[in-house]
C-alpha cells in the first residue's frame, strides 16, 4: 500500500495528464460540429490539399466566417493537425485536445511557481482536467482554447526568473493572431503579471509593456486598414455602440406623459449614461454563478447539458478561496481575481450579446482561486471534491446522447446524410439546397463530402460571406426566389417544411400534376426536418 502511494505520489502529474487525455479522447467525435467548426475543419483540409481556403484564396492571413473575420492561427493549427493525423475527426480535433492538456500542465506549473505548494498545484491541475468548459472547448477547433494556452504561456514566461524577450514577443504575436479578444487583454496580462513578482525593475517593466503594446497597436492598425476591418470591430467587439435598445427605451419612457413629474429629473435619471450601467451589469452576467457552475449555454452549442464552466461542487472551494483572499489579503490570489475581472471586461462592450468565449478565457484564473480555496479545506472533503469532479467529467464525456439531441439545431449531425446525398445528386443534376435547413449549410457540405473549394476568389478580404455555390449545389434563400417556370431538366430540391408547402403548390401549377416529396429526413428528435423533391420546376431570383 505504501509503495502504491509512493508511486502514485511521485507520478501524480503524469496520472493527471493521462486522465485529462482520457476524458478528452472519449467519444472523440463529440461535440458534433457546428457550422463555424465545420468551416474551420474543412478549411484546414483545403489548406493542406489545395493550398487554399474554402473560398479559393491561397494561404490567406484573414479568413471569412458568416459573422466576422477570423484570425489565422486557429485555422493553421487545425491544418497542421490534418497534415499529421489526416482529414478526419481525430486529425481536426487532436491539436485542440493536446492544447487542452497543455493548459492543464501550464496551470499546474503556474500554480507551483506562485504558491510554491505542490499540493495546491495538483488541485489546480485536477480542477482543470475536469472543468466541463475546458473539456468541451478542447474537443472542437476554436480560437478560445488557443487563446487560453497562449495566455498561460505568456504568464509563465513572465514569471520566469530570466525574462526571455524573444519568447515573450513570439507569444504576444501568436496571441494577437488568434482572436480579436486578445487585442484587449494582452497588455492587461502583462501589467497584471507584474503583481505576481516583486523583482522586476522599472526599466524591465517598461520594456515588457512596450513589447506587448507595439505589436498590439500594429495589429489593430493593420486590421483597421483592411476593408470591413472597422465594421468587424464595431459589429462584433463594440456592438454596444450600435445598440439602440437603451436609447429607444429611454425615449419610450421619457415619452410617457406624467403630470407633475419634473422633466429635469427624467433627464437626470434616464439618459445615455444608462448605457454604462447596462454594460456593467451585462459584464457581471459573465461572472454569475449559474453560468460558471450551472449551465454555460442552454442551447448545447457551447457546453455540456446542465454543466457550467466549472464543476458544480467547485462553487464551495471558489467561495472559500475568495473569502480567504479577503481575510489573508493574499496578493497572488487577488491578482488572479483581477485577471478574471479584467479579461472579462471586453464582454461588456459586446452588449447585448453574450460571448461565451469571454467566460471560457477566465476559467484558468477561477481554477487557481478554487485550488487555493481547496487548500483550506480538510483533506476528507478535498478527496470527496476530487472524486466528484473526476466522476462528473467522465460521465459528461461518456454519456453524450442527450447533449447531441439538445444541440439539434446548432450542431446538426443529422445533416450529414442529407449533404452526402445532395452531393451525390449534384454529380448528375442541379441541386438546390435551402439555407433554412441549417445555419450556413456550405461548411457541412465541405466537411461531410469530398466537395472541392473554388479554384480562386476575386475578393481578398471576404467579410460575412455565405457560400452559395458548391459545384452543382446551389444554396438558396427561398424568401428571395420564386418557382415560376418549368425547365427541361430534373433538379433536386432539399427544403424545410414551410418551404415544401410553397414548393408543392407552385410545382403542381407548373407541372400540371401533384408534386410530392421523394423523401423526408428527420433530425435528432425524429422530427421531419428536410424534404427532398425531384422536379423540373426552375427558379427565378
Amino acid at each position: 500500500m505504501k509503495q502504491i502511494k509512493s508511486i502514485v505520489g511521485n507520478n501524480l502529474l503524469l496520472i493527471t495528464i493521462l486522465l485529462a487525455l482520457i476524458i478528452r479522447l472519449i467519444n472523440i467525435d463529440f461535440p458534433k460540429f457546428s457550422a463555424e467548426e465545420a468551416q474551420v475543419a474543412s478549411r484546414a483540409n483545403f489548406l493542406i490539399s489545395h493550398g487554399t481556403d474554402e473560398l479559393g484564396r491561397k494561404l490567406p492571413f484573414i479568413f471569412n466566417s458568416s459573422y466576422d473575420y477570423q484570425l489565422p492561427l486557429t485555422s493553421y493549427i487545425t491544418a497542421f493537425g490534418v497534415l499529421i493525423f489526416s482529414n478526419n475527426d481525430l486529425g481536426v480535433r487532436l491539436p485542440f485536445i493536446l492544447i487542452g492538456i497543455l493548459i492543464v500542465i501550464l496551470i499546474y506549473f503556474i500554480s507551483k511557481i506562485l504558491f510554491k505548494d505542490k499540493k495546491l498545484a495538483y488541485f489546480s491541475a485536477i480542477i482543470a482536467v475536469a472543468s466541463p468548459g475546458l473539456v468541451f472547448f478542447s474537443k472542437i477547433p476554436n480560437e478560445y482554447i488557443v487563446l487560453i494556452v497562449l495566455m498561460l504561456i505568456l504568464i509563465l514566461l513572465l514569471l520566469q526568473e530570466k525574462i526571455n524577450k524573444f519568447f515573450i514577443i513570439t507569444a504576444v504575436i501568436l496571441l494577437l493572431m488568434t482572436s480579436k479578444l486578445a487585442w484587449f487583454i494582452t497588455v492587461p496580462i502583462i501589467l497584471l503579471s507584474f503583481f505576481l513578482r516583486n523583482d522586476l525593475s522599472r526599466g524591465e517593466k517598461i520594456n515588457l509593456i512596450v513589447l506587448g503594446s507595439i505589436p498590439n497597436i500594429l495589429m489593430v492598425y493593420i486590421f483597421l486598414n483592411i476593408p470591413q476591418g472597422g465594421r468587424s470591430l464595431i459589429e462584433n467587439n463594440f456592438s454596444i455602440l450600435n445598440d439602440l435598445s437603451i436609447k429607444n427605451g429611454i425615449d419610450r419612457l421619457r415619452g410617457q406623459q406624467i403630470d407633475g413629474w419634473p422633466n429635469l429629473l427624467d433627464r437626470i435619471l434616464l439618459n445615455k449614461s444608462f448605457l454604462i450601467i447596462a454594460s456593467f451589469f451585462h459584464w457581471l452576467s459573465y461572472l454569475q454563478p449559474s453560468s460558471l457552475f450551472g449551465q454555460i449555454d442552454a442551447s448545447g452549442k457551447f457546453g455540456f447539458l446542465n454543466q457550467g464552466g466549472l464543476s458544480k461542487i467547485i462553487i464551495i472551494p471558489l467561495l472559500i478561496g475568495l473569502v480567504h483572499l479577503i481575510k489573508e489579503k493574499n496578493k497572488k490570489v487577488l491578482t488572479f481575481f483581477l485577471f478574471a475581472i479584467l479579461l472579462s471586461i471586453p464582454g461588456a462592450l459586446i452588449y447585448p450579446k453574450i460571448e461565451i468565449g469571454v467566460l471560457i478565457i477566465i476559467l484558468p484564473f477561477l481554477i487557481l482561486i478554487s485550488a487555493f480555496g481547496m487548500s483550506k479545506l480538510k483533506s476528507a472533503f478535498v478527496n470527496i471534491v476530487i472524486v466528484f469532479i473526476v466522476f462528473e467529467a467522465i460521465l459528461n464525456s461518456f454519456f453524450i446522447s442527450s447533449n447531441v439531441k439538445i444541440s439539434n439545431t446548432d450542431r446538426p449531425f443529422w445533416i450529414k446524410q442529407i449533404v452526402n446525398e445532395a452531393y451525390d445528386y449534384s454529380k448528375v443534376a442541379q441541386v438546390f439546397f435551402s439555407d433554412k435547413i441549417a445555419p450556413d449549410p456550405a461548411p457541412f457540405i465541405f466537411w461531410y463530402t469530398s466537395a472541392a473549394p473554388p479554384i480562386s476568389s476575386k475578393d481578398n478580404f471576404p467579410y460575412k460571406i455565405i457560400q452559395r455555390d458548391i459545384g452543382a449545389i446551389k444554396i438558396i434563400n427561398s424568401d428571395r426566389i420564386s418557382y415560376q417556370c418549368k425547365g427541361d431538366k430534373i433538379n433536386y430540391f432539399f427544403l424545410n417544411e414551410d418551404e415544401s408547402k410553397t414548393f408543392e403548390k407552385n410545382a403542381t401549377t407548373f407541372q400540371n400534376f401533384d408534386t410530392k416529396f421523394e423523401r423526408i429526413y428527420a433530425d435528432n428528435f425524429n422530427q421531419d426536418r428536410v424534404y427532398l423533391y425531384k422536379s423540373s420546376i426552375c427558379l427565378k431570383q
Binding site: I246, I250, L270, F293, G294
Partner: protein, 543 residues
C-alpha cells in the same frame, strides 16, 4: 445611555415615518388598478364579512378557490380588521400588506440590533429596508409574503434574544411561535422556517447552554405549532392542489430534460441547481428582476443598483475586520436558505417567493454602508469634505430611490397595465351602466397587445364594481366549464364570432383577438377601452 437610546428611537421613528409614507402614499392608485388577485381577495373578503362564505358558498374556507388558484385564506382573514375599520373600498385590501411592510422596518431594526449589538448598523439596515424596491413593491399589493418577512424578522429577534440569555426561556418559545406563524401565512416559509430554525439552533446551541431536555421541549412546542398546518395540508385537497400547481413538476423544461436524459433524479437536481443559481444573477437582482417595464435594462430589480457595490463592500468588510464575521456568515446562510423556494417552482424567476432573501440582502448591504460611513467619519479629511462625501452617498441613495419611484409609479402602468387586467375596472363599470339596455351582455376577457392572453378574475371585477351583494353572487354566479361563467345576464365566456354576430339586442365586449374589428361596421362599436398607455384593449359592440 438614555440619550443614545432616545437618539436611536428618534432616528428609527423618522425612518418608520418615511417608510410609511413610501408605503401608504396614494396606495389607492399606485398601482393604477387592483389586479386580479387583489380584486378577488377584496370581494371574497366582502363576502366573508357579510355572509361568512366566499362567492362559491364555502364557509370560512382555508383555501379560497378564487380564480382557480386556491389562495390560502390568511391574507383575507387578516384584512378583515382594516375592512371593519375603513370599510369597503379598493384600498382596504392593500392596507394589511402596507402595515406589515412598515412593521418590517421595525422588525429589521430589532433583529439586526440583537444580532450585531450595534445600533448604527441596525438603523442603517432599517433605512435601507424602508427604501428597497422589493420592500416597497410587495408592501403595496395584497401579498401575504411580506407578512411572512415581518414574522420571520420578529421571530428571529426573539429567538436570538432568548438564546443569548442562556437556558430555556419565554423568548425562545415566542420566537418559535412567531416563526411558525410565517409558515401558515405563505408556502415558501414552510420550507425556509424549519431550515432556519435548524441553522439557528445549530449555531447557538452551545452558547445558549441548552441541554437534551431543552431540545425535547423546543421540538415538542414546534411540533404542536405545526400540527394544525400538517393536518390542514393533508386533509385539504385545495391547499395541496395549490402547492402542486406551482411545484417544479409543472415546469415544461423538467419534462424536456427527463426526456433527454432518461434520468429523472439527475434532471430534477440539475434543473433545481441551475434555477437556484439563477436567482443570484446580478441583472435579475439589481436591474430588472421586478419586471416593471418592457425595456430590458431600463427596469428595476428587487434591490437598488447602488446596493451592488454596498454588498461587495459588506463582504469585504465582514471578512476583513471580523467584527461582524459571525453575523455575516449567519446572514449569508439565511440567504442561501431563503432562495430555495423559488428554485423548486415552475417559474424561471419568481421574485415573490424570494422576498425574504431580498430583505436579507438589504440587511447585508447595510454593513457596507456602515463601513463606508465609518471610513469617511474616521478619516483625516476635514469636516467639510466629510460632509460632502456623506452628502454624495445620500444623493446617490436618493437618486436610486427616485429612479425606482419613477419606474414603479409612472412607467409600470404604461408598460404593464394589461398584466394587472387594466381596464377591467372600466369594463365592469361600463357593463353596469348598460345593464338595462340589453337582453344579454357577453364579455370575453381574452385580450393583449402583441399576443393574446385571458385576463383572470373578470367575475370579481363585475361583482365588485357592480356593488353586487355577495349573497346574490353566491346564488347567481355559475362557474361552467371551458372558461364560461355567468352572473345574471352577464356571461363571461369565449366569443365565437361566426355564431355570436347573429345574436340580437346583445352587448359584446371583446378584443381584436376575438372580434374582427377591422371588418366591422364602425357604428356598431359603441365604446373603446384602452390600456393605460392608450393602446386599444377591448371594444364594446352593440348587436
Amino acid at each position: 445611555m438614555l440619550e443614545t437610546m432616545n437618539k436611536q428611537i428618534l432616528i428609527l421613528l423618522l425612518i418608520i415615518i418615511f417608510g410609511s409614507f413610501l408605503r401608504f402614499y396614494r396606495l389607492d392608485n399606485i398601482p393604477v388598478q387592483l389586479n386580479h388577485d387583489e380584486i378577488s381577495q377584496l370581494y371574497d373578503l366582502k363576502s366573508i364579512v357579510g355572509t361568512g362564505k366566499d362567492i362559491y358558498g364555502n364557509s370560512y374556507p382555508l383555501a379560497f378557490p378564487s380564480t382557480g388558484d386556491y389562495k390560502p385564506g390568511h391574507y383575507i382573514y387578516i384584512s378583515m380588521i382594516p375592512y371593519l375599520l375603513f370599510g369597503d373600498q379598493e384600498v382596504t385590501i392593500r392596507i394589511a400588506a402596507a402595515f406589515f411592510g412598515i412593521l418590517t422596518i421595525l422588525g429589521t431594526f430589532l433583529f439586526v440590533k440583537i444580532l450585531t449589538k450595534n445600533w448604527h448598523v441596525a438603523l442603517l439596515a432599517s433605512f435601507l429596508i424602508a427604501i428597497t424596491p422589493s420592500e416597497i413593491f410587495y408592501s403595496r399589493k395584497s401579498f401575504e409574503s411580506i407578512i411572512g418577512v415581518c414574522l420571520n424578522l420578529f421571530g428571529l429577534f426573539y429567538l436570538i434574544k432568548g438564546l443569548t440569555l442562556r437556558g430555556l426561556n419565554a423568548f425562545i418559545y415566542i420566537g418559535i411561535l412567531i416563526m411558525t406563524l410565517a409558515m401558515y401565512v405563505y408556502t415558501s416559509y414552510v420550507i425556509t422556517v424549519p431550515l432556519t430554525l435548524l441553522l439557528i439552533f445549530f449555531i447557538y446551541w452551545k452558547k445558549a447552554n441548552l441541554n437534551r431536555n431543552s431540545f425535547f421541549r423546543i421540538v415538542t412546542l414546534w411540533l404542536i405549532c405545526i400540527f394544525p398546518l400538517i393536518f390542514i395540508t393533508f386533509t385539504n385537497n385545495d391547499l395541496r392542489f395549490r402547492a402542486s400547481s406551482v411545484f417544479l413538476t409543472q415546469d415544461p423544461n423538467l419534462g424536456k430534460l427527463i426526456g433527454l436524459t432518461h434520468n429523472p433524479l439527475k434532471a430534477y437536481f440539475d434543473l433545481v441547481f441551475v434555477k437556484y443559481l439563477n436567482q443570484f444573477n446580478p441583472v435579475f437582482l439589481f436591474v430588472n428582476g421586478l419586471s416593471l417595464t418592457n425595456q430590458t435594462m431600463l427596469d428595476s430589480g428587487p434591490l437598488m443598483i447602488v446596493q451592488f457595490p454596498l454588498i461587495i463592500m459588506s463582504f469585504i468588510f465582514l471578512f476583513l475586520y471580523k467584527e461582524f464575521l459571525f453575523q455575516g456568515k449567519f446572514l449569508f446562510f439565511l440567504i442561501l436558505i431563503a432562495m430555495i423556494p423559488s428554485s423548486i417552482t415552475f417559474d424561471d424567476f419568481s421574485p415573490h417567493r424570494s422576498v425574504f432573501a431580498f430583505t436579507l440582502f438589504s440587511i447585508i448591504s447595510a454593513f457596507g454602508l456602515y463601513w463606508l460611513i465609518h471610513v469617511i467619519i474616521t478619516s483625516e479629511l476635514n469636516k467639510l469634505f466629510q460632509s460632502v462625501l456623506l452628502g454624495i452617498i445620500m444623493l446617490i441613495l436618493t437618486l436610486n430611490l427616485t429612479y425606482f419611484i419613477r419606474i414603479y409609479a409612472f412607467s409600470y402602468p404604461y408598460e404593464k397595465s394589461q398584466y394587472i387586467e387594466y381596464p377591467f375596472k372600466e369594463v365592469s363599470q361600463y357593463i353596469w351602466s348598460q345593464y338595462g339596455n340589453f337582453d344579454n351582455i357577453i364579455f370575453d376577457p381574452k385580450f393583449g397587445t402583441i399576443q393574446p392572453f385571458v385576463g383572470v378574475g373578470a367575475q370579481y371585477y363585475i361583482a365588485y364594481y357592480g356593488n353586487l351583494e355577495p349573497i346574490f353572487v353566491q346564488s347567481e354566479y355559475l362557474d361552467l366549464k371551458d372558461r364560461q361563467m355567468s352572473i345574471g345576464k352577464i356571461k363571461i365566456r369565449q366569443i365565437y364570432w361566426p355564431n355570436d354576430k347573429n345574436l340580437k339586442n346583445i352587448l359584446i365586449i371583446g378584443s381584436k383577438w376575438t372580434i374582427p374589428i377591422n371588418e366591422l361596421d364602425k357604428a356598431k362599436i359603441i365604446h373603446e377601452f384602452a390600456l393605460y398607455d392608450g393602446q386599444p384593449a377591448l371594444y364594446a359592440i352593440k348587436l
